[in-house]
């Protein structure tokens, strides 16, 4: 019935039937045309046009020049460092962010609101402040660094330091994406597992973790994406040695400072494509998961 109504609403012959059906499906949720139009316009204005100019700029240089700059050994080392440390930091955040989310959802304790607000603080803090604070802590003569130094652990000015900075700024993503799902999971599922004889560990690994997996993956993806693009907090703690502790965003800024705009965009394009591929892959995994669960 809804189909006939939808077709009656669409001018006959203007659109092929199937398209008319998809686009003009009668729904209680009004305003699809309006909201979808706004969404497209907004995304175009905010995301697509700025990104397109990068590609345009990069297209201005020849293929050889693009490869020479965008895939130079220095650039490749920077990509490796950026993506590697971002992945490591996102992984650390996945583990500890889950723990924090768990505590915030499952227990009530005095000062819970304060702890919850602390989680969001890395969002609000200027990243340079975080970078400077972390550097002074982990430098060989810093509060924490002075104890690590004798043990032969160097944090500041190494990739370990970069990872720590990225862990700091990526923490809220995992906590905030897992929290609602964990709350929604409900205690009864855990109780059901317990009545069936499962130990706490079995309940966690077989029931809870798979259920919050998608949310955890989303949090991981966001923390990862943020880490790849992070600049402010990292440049202070990384030491910025080309080929060793130079992250890709810094390389872009370096290029810009030398007025090598084309080179900067070449690196940006490579980074963007790589990030997009990773995020696309994660979204695809999520979609497969959703379809599997019949939701």
């Amino acid at each position: 019935m809804s189909n006939t109504l939808a077709l009656a609403g669409a001018p006959p012959g203007v659109l092929p039937r199937t398209i008319a059906r998809t686009w003009r499906k009668r729904s209680v949720m009004p305003g699809f045309g309006l909201t979808f139009g706004f969404t497209l316009a907004w995304l175009t204005l905010i995301v697509l046009i700025p990104l397109a100019t990068i590609f345009l700029k990069a297209a201005g240089m020849g293929w050889h020049e693009f490869v020479a700059v965008g895939l130079s050994p220095r650039a490749l080392a920077a990509y490796r460092l950026s993506f590697g440390t971002a992945a490591a930091a996102a992984l650390v955040n996945a583990v500890f962010g889950l723990l924090v989310a768990w505590v915030l959802v499952r227990y009530s304790f005095p000062g819970k609101r304060v702890v919850s607000a602390l989680v969001d603080l890395p969002f609000a803090l200027p990243t340079a402040v975080a970078g400077i604070a972390l550097t002074s802590l982990y430098a060989p003569n810093g509060w924490i660094g002075q104890f690590l130094e004798p043990m032969g652990i160097k944090v500041a000015f190494t990739s370990l330091g970069i990872t720590i900075a990225l862990v700091f700024i990526g923490l809220p993503f995992v906590v905030r994406s897992v929290e609602p799902v964990l709350a929604d999971l409900g205690k009864d599922v855990e109780e059901a597992a317990a009545t069936l004889g499962a130990s706490r560990y079995q309940t966690f690994s077989r029931v809870i973790l798979p259920a919050i997996g998608p949310a955890l993956l989303t949090g991981f993806a966001m923390a990862f994406a943020r880490g790849v693009g992070e600049y402010g907090s990292v440049i202070f703690i990384s030491g910025n040695m080309p080929g060793k502790t130079e992250i890709a965003p810094l390389l872009i800024v370096t290029q810009l400072e030398q007025y090598a705009y084309a080179g900067a965009t070449a690196i940006a394009v490579v980074m963007m494509l790589a990030s997009f591929a990773v995020l696309l892959l994660i979204n695809w995994i999520q979609a497969v998961n959703r379809r599997r669960m019949g939701a």
Binding site: G186, V189, A192, A193, L196, G197, R206, G213, A295
Partner: protein
């Protein structure tokens, strides 16, 4: 035999249960019936080990299981919202209790698969083992939850409002089916419900609870015909309550004769058909107290504004506090 001895439970300052004593024979089908907040679910959860009593004991065949964890009590529990594992297939859900057994107790893979299939056949979900819970109807999910609970071969099956989330038709079918299953498997079962019709239809014995106390334990017939307290009389079945003198008189809508003379006069307010009767809603002329009466549909339908005269065939008199012992009998 399941014995509950003097169980008390408080949540903060709120007393959920006080001094509960109950004995359940093997093979019995028991209903815990009461309004929300009566403590029935708390009692069920304490028996399962999902909640712990402040004082008192739970005995399984004479053994105190109060300190045993839920996983070690070997009790089948069916949750109100099913609590199925959404990321597992139906068959994986059913097999979960076998999969998590310690390796030396765990059946082989093939045996687990066969057992899951057998259970799905038992709950009439053959061939749906590969589906996910999200792809099933409410009634089907309920049966998956039941099969999952039965997989660990519990002696005791506990069900928390098992039909609460289902629509009326499915509910009725499932009820009959559950009673058969209970008999067939020789289980001892306890289920919680706030639906008195469900309790009376299914249970061998009904435990009526209110405000954390047991009001009455008895067969459905005893509970319905001889309610021990005003609460039971009012909560189980439809009851007219008429106050008078030092107490109140209770009578069922269908325990009323319409007479030509004498009796009490009732001013008819509303009439509708209820099965084989006319349900008359009205007020006693003398005291203007609200009453509901069933009049045989063979008699002419009363009209709003009519006055009919009634005599309760069976009634019960309850005295006001301090004691509320029934003085049942003929009016």
């Amino acid at each position: 035999m399941i014995s509950v001895r003097n169980i008390t439970k408080r949540f903060g300052s709120y007393a959920a249960l006080h001094g509960i004593d109950l004995d359940i024979e093997p093979g019995e089908f028991i209903a815990l019936l009461g309004p929300s907040g009566s403590g029935k679910t708390t009692l069920l959860r304490i028996i399962a080990g999902l909640e712990f009593q402040d004082s008192g004991q739970v005995l399984f065949d004479g053994d105190d299981v109060s300190s045993l964890k839920v996983a070690d009590r070997h009790v089948g529990f069916v949750f109100q919202q099913y609590a199925l594992f959404r990321h597992m297939t139906v068959a994986e859900n059913v097999a979960f209790g076998l999969q998590v057994k310690r390796r030396r107790d765990r059946p082989t893979r093939a045996a687990i698969r066969d057992r899951a299939e057998e259970l799905l056949r038992l709950v009439q979900l053959e061939g749906l083992g590969g589906r996910y819970p999200g792809q099933l109807s409410g009634g089907q999910r309920q049966r998956v939850a039941l099969a999952r609970a039965l997989a660990i071969e519990p002696q005791l099956l506990l069900l928390d409002e098992p039909f609460g989330a289902l629509d009326a038709k499915v509910r009725k079918d499932l009820r009959r089916w559950l009673r058969d299953l209970h008999k067939q498997m020789g289980l001892t079962s306890i289920f919680v419900t706030h639906d008195q019709e469900e309790a009376l239809e299914l249970a061998d014995r009904v435990v009526v609870m209110d405000h954390g106390k047991i009001e009455q334990v008895g067969t459905p017939e005893e509970i319905y015909m001889n309610p021990a307290t005003p609460f039971v009389s009012h909560f189980v079945g439809e009851t007219n309550r008429v106050t008078g003198g030092s107490g109140e008189i209770h009578f069922r809508p269908h325990d009323v004769d319409v007479v030509a003379e004498g009796g009490e006069a009732v001013l008819v307010d509303n009439v509708f058909r209820k099965g084989g009767c006319w349900r008359v809603e009205g007020a006693l002329v003398e005291t203007s107290m609200f009453v509901e009466i069933d009049v045989d549909a063979a008699l002419p339908q009363p009209r709003p504004g009519d006055t009919i005269r009634i005599v309760p065939r069976r009634s019960r008199q309850f005295h006001f506090e301090p004691t509320s012992n029934p003085e049942g009998g003929q009016a």
